[in-house]
Amino acid sequence: METKNIMIVGVGGQGSLLASKLLGTLLTDEGYDVKVSEVHGMSQRGGSVVTYVRFGEKVYSPVITQGEADIIVSFEKLEAARHAPCLKKGGRIIVNTQQIDPMPVITGAAEYPENVLDELKAKNIQIDAVDALSLATRAGNAKSVNIVLMGRVAKCFDIPCDKWLAAIEKCVKPQFVQVNKKAFELGYES
C-alpha cells in the first residue's frame, strides 16, 4: 500500500502528543511500519505545533510536506488554514471549531480571519468541522479534545472501534481511561 499521512496540528499545550501516541500505538499493533515526528519541550507552548504520523509497508521520511497529507487533524481553526497547503488533493481536514487568538491578534497587530474554514471549503477542500471542546466537556474533561478528534479520525479508517479503545487503554493512565473512551465515542458518533 501507499504510505498514508496524517498531520496533527494545533497550539502548543493542546495535547497533540497523546493523539500521536494513540495513532502510533494503534497502527503499530495493526502491523504497519509507522513513523511519528513530534514537538517536545515547554518552549513551544502557545505556539503553532505540528505532529506527523506516517504509516504503510515501509516509511522513510518522518515528515509530511506540501500536498502530501491524507488527513489534517486540527485542534484549532487558524491552524487548519495555516497547514492546509500540506493537504493532498482530495484530502480531508478534521477541525475543532475552537478559536484561540495568537498573540499578534491579541495585541491588535493582526486580524483573525473569521471565515477561514469557508474559504477552504470554497476551494473544494473537505472540511469536517466539529465542536470538540463541547464534546470533550460532555465526556467529562475539556482536555480530551484530542481524543474526541481521534474518534472523528477513526471514521476514516477500516480499523474496528474496539482496537482504538484498546489502544486508548495502552496510552493513558488508568484513571483517565474512562473519560477518554467516552471522548472517543462522542467524537466517533458525532
Binding site: 515526528s37 516509511v59 487558524l78 477552504l120
Partner: protein
C-alpha cells in the same frame, strides 16, 4: 520484540542494552529525553548535572573507574563540554564513553545552527550518526569502538531523529563487569610531558578509524542505477529514499568521522553523477573535494535549516504535489509565556521602566516578544550575568542605574555563578535578577540543584540561592514575588540605584508544575471596564478585547492576579468576589 520508540528513547534503550552504568547530562532540546528515559532503568545510575562540562567530566570519572558511561547534550552544550572533550581524546578511556550530541537544524529550540561534526574533526574522535530509532543499535557499536580504539565517541543526533518515533528491535542488556582500575600517569595525567607522548597515539588512532570506516557495516552501499549516486548520512538518508526509493545508488554513512576514502572512491567510480546531500555544513563534500572527487553538494543545497523530501524534489527540479492555500493572511502564532507565568510580572516592571535587560537562555527569552519587549540580548547560557558586568564597566554609573540582567534558576546554576563571582570580585554595581521558577522549564520540567529533588524525584540537597550569592560576596540579596508588581518595581528601582552589586531573586514556581494549584479565574466587571487596554500590556494569552471590553478566558486564567494590578478602575476581580 519490536516497539515504537522515540529516537531519544531508543538511545536510552541502547544505553541499557550496552550495559552502561553511569549517565550524567544537562537537559537541552532536543537531547533531554535520552537521560529522562535512561533514568527509568534501575540498572543505570542517571543524574542531571549542573552543566555539560560537569556531566562530561563525571562520565570521564566513571569511565576511568571502569564502567561504560554516557552523557547527552544539545549541540551548544558540546561547546560547554568542549574542554574535557579535547583532552579526553588524548587520555582515551577505561570503560567505554559515548557523548550524545543533538543538533537542531532549523533552530526549533536553539540560538544557533552549529554542526557538531566539526567537533569530531577538531577533537579527532570518531562520530556515529543514526538515521532513525532502529539505528540506535549503533550505540552498542559506539561502545565497542570506544573500548577497542581507546577513545571517547561522539554520537550525533538531530531534532528529527531525536523526536521521531519508529520501530526498534529490543534486545537484552549485556552486563559489563567493572574493569580494573590501575594508576596510569602516562595515559591519564595530561601534563605537557605526557600529552606530547599521547598526541602521536591520537593521530595513529585517526588512521586506524579511517580503516574501520572502509569495512564497518556502519557505512553501507545500496547499489542500484549507475546514473545517479548520492552520499548521505542521518536523516537525509530517509529523505533521499523517500524521493528516489531504489532508483538511485546510495552510500549511507553511519561513521561520519573520520570519513573513509576507498569506499567513497569506489562508489564515485561506479556512478555517472555524484551528489552529496547533508544538512548544515558541507563536511562530506569538503572531504570529497580534498580527495579530488567531483561531486555536487552545497551548490544545490543550502547550509541553512532542515531538509525534507520537498527540499530534495525541488533541488532536482521535480514537481511538488498539488496543494491549496487559503487567501486570507494567516497571522503567525509564536510561542508565548503561559497564562500565570511567574516571569511576566517582573518583565512588565522592566519594560515599564525602560530598563536595559541582558537576557539568558530559558522560557524567559519569550520576554523579548511583544508586548513586553523586555529583553535586549540573548547569547548563551550564563552570558547575561557575565555580560552585564562588561556592559556596566563600559558604560559606568549612568549605565548601571538603567541596567539589569535576568537568568533562570537552572541557567544560573549552569553558568551564571562564575559571572556573579566576577561581578563581586571585580566590582561592578550590577543588578542580577534570578528568575527562580523552581524548575528547568524550557526543556520540559527537569529537576536541578536548586529544586531539592534529583532526576528520579527523590529528595536531594537544594542549593540555597541567597546563601550562595552571599558567599561569593554579594551583600544585597533580596527575594520578591513576581505576582506582586509593586514589590518587584520597588526592588528593581532600589537595587539599580545603589552603588554596589545586588541580586534580586524573583521567586514563584512555574505554574505548570503539578503541585502548583491554579486559583479561580479572574473575571471582568464590564460596567467598570472602559476598554483602556492597560491589562493587555502584560501580554497574557488569557486576556483579549471583546466588544471594546477586556475579556478573560476562564479556561486559561489561573488567577495569578497580575492583570488586576494593571487595572486602575478595579474592573478585574477575583472569581470568588
Amino acid at each position: 520484540m519490536k516497539k515504537l520508540l522515540l529516537g531519544n528513547q531508543a538511545i536510552a534503550r541502547g544505553l541499557y542494552e550496552a550495559g552502561v552504568k553511569v549517565v550524567s547530562s544537562y537537559p537541552g532540546t532536543p537531547s533531554t529525553e535520552i537521560t529522562e528515559f535512561a533514568s527509568e532503568y534501575d540498572e543505570m545510575y542517571c543524574e542531571w548535572a549542573p552543566n555539560e562540562k560537569v556531566a562530561t567530566e563525571t562520565a570521564f570519572g566513571a569511565s576511568l573507574r571502569g564502567v561504560r558511561s554516557a552523557c547527552a547534550m544539545k549541540h551548544v552544550g558540546l561547546n560547554v563540554a568542549a574542554d574535557p572533550l579535547f583532552t579526553l581524546s588524548y587520555t582515551g578511556v577505561n570503560g567505554g564513553l559515548v557523548i550524545f550530541v543533538a543538533d537542531d537544524p532549523a533552530m526549533h529550540s536553539s540560538q544557533n545552527e552549529q554542526d557538531s561534526r566539526h567537533y569530531a574533526i577538531a577533537a579527532k574522535v570518531p562520530m556515529l550518526e543514526p538515521s532513525d530509532s532502529a539505528e540506535a543499535k549503533f550505540v552498542k557499536q559506539a561502545y565497542e569502538i570506544s573500548e577497542k580504539y581507546d577513545t571517547p565517541v561522539l554520537f550525533r543526533m538531530c531534532t528529527r531523529i531525536a523526536h521521531s518515533q519508529s520501530s526498534v528491535e529490543l534486545e537484552e542488556r549485556v552486563e559489563k563487569p567493572l574493569a580494573q582500575y590501575s594508576r596510569n600517569p602516562q595515559k591519564y595525567i595530561m601534563s605537557p610531558a605526557n600529552a606530547i607522548k599521547r598526541h602521536p597515539f591520537v593521530e595513529e588512532r585517526v588512521c586506524k578509524l579511517k580503516e574501520l570506516g572502509e569495512t564497518s557495516p556502519l557505512n553501507r552501499v545500496e547499489m542500484a542505477d549507475s546514473e545517479i549516486g548520492i552520499i548521505c548520512a542521518g536523516t537525509c538518508y530517509q529523505y533521499v529514499k523517500e524521493v528516489f526509493g531504489d532508483s538511485v545508488s546510495v552510500l549511507k554513512l553511519g561513521l561520519v568521522n573520520p570519513l573513509p576514502e576507498k569506499i567513497i572512491r569506489d562508489f564515485a567510480n561506479k556512478v555517472k553523477k555524484l551528489y552529496v546531500i547533508e544538512e548544515l555544513d558541507g563536511i562530506i563534500e569538503q572531504h570529497l573535494n580534498t580527495l579530488g572527487i567531483p561531486c555536487t553538494g552545497k551548490e544545490m543545497f543550502s547550509p541553512l535549516g532542515e531538509y525534507n523530501q520537498a527540499t530534495i524534489r525541488k533541488a532536482f527540479g521535480m514537481d511538488a504535489p498539488e496543494s491549496t492555500a487559503a487567501d486570507s493572511v494567516i497571522p503567525v502564532r509564536p510561542p508565548i509565556m503561559c497564562a500565570g507565568c511567574p516571569h511576566r510580572g517582573m518583565f512588565y516592571v522592566l519594560s515599564k521602566n525602560k530598563i536595559t535587560t541582558l537576557g539568558d537562555i530559558g522560557c524567559y527569552t519569550l520576554g523579548s516578544a511583544a508586548p513586553l519587549n523586555a529583553v535586549d540580548s540573548t547569547l548563551c547560557m550564563g552570558a547575561s550575568v557575565s555580560g552585564i558586568h562588561g556592559f556596566n564597566k563600559a558604560g559606568g554609573e549612568e549605565t548601571e542605574k538603567k541596567t539589569v540582567c535576568v537568568i533562570g534558576d537552572s541557567t544560573f546554576m549552569h553558568s551564571g555563578i562564575t559571572g556573579l563571582v566576577n561581578i563581586a570580585y571585580n566590582g561592578s554595581n550590577s543588578t542580577v535578577i534570578i528568575l527562580d521558577n523552581s524548575i528547568t522549564g524550557m526543556t520540559g520540567h527537569q529537576q536541578n540543584p536548586t529544586t531539592g529533588y534529583n532526576i528520579k524525584g527523590e529528595p536531594a540537597n537544594a542549593v540555597n540561592l541567597e546563601d550562595l550569592c552571599h558567599a561569593v560576596g554579594i551583600k544585597r540579596v533580596r527575594v520578591v514575588d513576581p505576582y506582586n508588581l509593586k514589590e518587584c518595581e520597588d526592588a528593581v528601582l532600589e537595587e539599580i540605584g545603589v552603588l554596589e552589586p545586588s541580586v534580586i531573586i524573583s521567586r514563584r514556581p512555574c505554574m505548570l508544575l503539578k503541585y502548583v494549584k491554579p486559583k479561580p479565574p479572574l473575571t471582568v466587571n464590564t460596567d467598570k471596564c472602559v476598554g483602556c487596554k492597560m491589562c493587555m500590556k502584560i501580554g497574557c494569552p488569557a486576556i483579549s478585547i471583546k466588544n471594546g471590553k477586556a475579556c478573560i478566558d476562564a479556561t486559561q486564567c489561573v488567577g495569578c492576579n497580575v492583570c488586576s494590578q494593571m487595572c486602575k478602575l478595579g474592573a478585574i476581580v477575583k472569581g470568588d468576589e
